[in-house]
Symmetry: C2
């Protein structure tokens, strides 16, 4: 089972190491992790995706709360949420194949962000499945390089608990 | 000075902790980090952004190479590269304000990915500056929640070294 955690932390050195260490010590393999800024200065937000069973997932939430600088933990797997992944894909492209690739870019609502004489860089956002599908159709043209952010998750509607935890820090 | 590292590693438990630990021990503050899959099964790719001077940045590259499971390190700051960030922004939206927000979404080439009675979730990709600008114009409508992936980076054109390192693992 894939579990997605949203962890809000204070933006202090060492927080990221402490969080990844909790997962490592319990032998959870992190499938993807992103950490970036939030709407509140001084607060970072991590989205962490792991493969684990339900029981272990619930215990992990408690372990995370015990860490210094962790403000709020949300397990979004079962709740109605929106998920997004960003990928940058560099694909080999000659004068002949470029227009074929552009057509696929349009179908997938992706975007070309760079063109060089022998290659193109394309950005695409969407669920993991959609991006996997796009990579599959590009493969015949030769995928030279791919970078993915891993999953970003957000609950639908308004989340009070996270908001409260963040307000406390901002105050 | 902001330095961006692209680190390719084997996809093994504990790699992420070892990498973040190297930065923590040398008191580098990680501004953003993303780790996700690549075009090669078994190989992960991290994009790490830190604020540091040129000398320390160069030494860090050497420290990273010494780690087990690290395949290739690339410092992309000065090279011609493309940078992208993904943000999901939840903004308060009523029947009256919704169309105003939609206009801004169009101007910034962002996308609405979810609508609930009192809010909307918008996705936007671009450089950090562009996303900061978008958040700024949304602020009067009340930004309820924001998640950002942090920077994803890719060199323009074809990079042989990274390709070689990856091929070795795939072989």
């Amino acid at each position: 089972m894939t579990t997605t955690y949203i962890v809000r932390t204070e933006d202090r050195p060492g927080v990221l190491t402490r969080v990844t260490e909790v997962f490592r010590r319990r032998a959870f393999n992190i499938e993807s992790l992103t950490v970036g800024h939030t709407e509140t200065p001084g607060v970072s937000r991590m989205t962490i995706v792991v493969d684990t069973d339900e029981d272990a997932a619930r215990r992990m939430e408690a372990h995370l709360y015990k860490l210094v600088n962790v403000l709020h933990v949300d397990t979004v797997t079962e709740q109605p949420s929106v998920f997004r992944d960003l990928a940058m894909i560099k694909v080999a492209a000659t004068a002949e194949t470029r227009s074929q690739i552009m057509q696929l870019v349009e179908v997938f609502r992706a975007r070309v962000i760079d063109v060089s004489p022998a290659s193109m860089v394309i950005e695409i956002t969407g669920t993991e499945d959609k991006i996997d599908g796009f990579v599959e159709v590009l493969r015949p043209f030769t995928v030279l390089e791919m970078a993915r952010t891993g999953r970003l998750a957000m609950r639908r509607g308004f989340v009070e608990a996270a908001q409260d935890a963040t307000d406390e820090v901002a105050a």
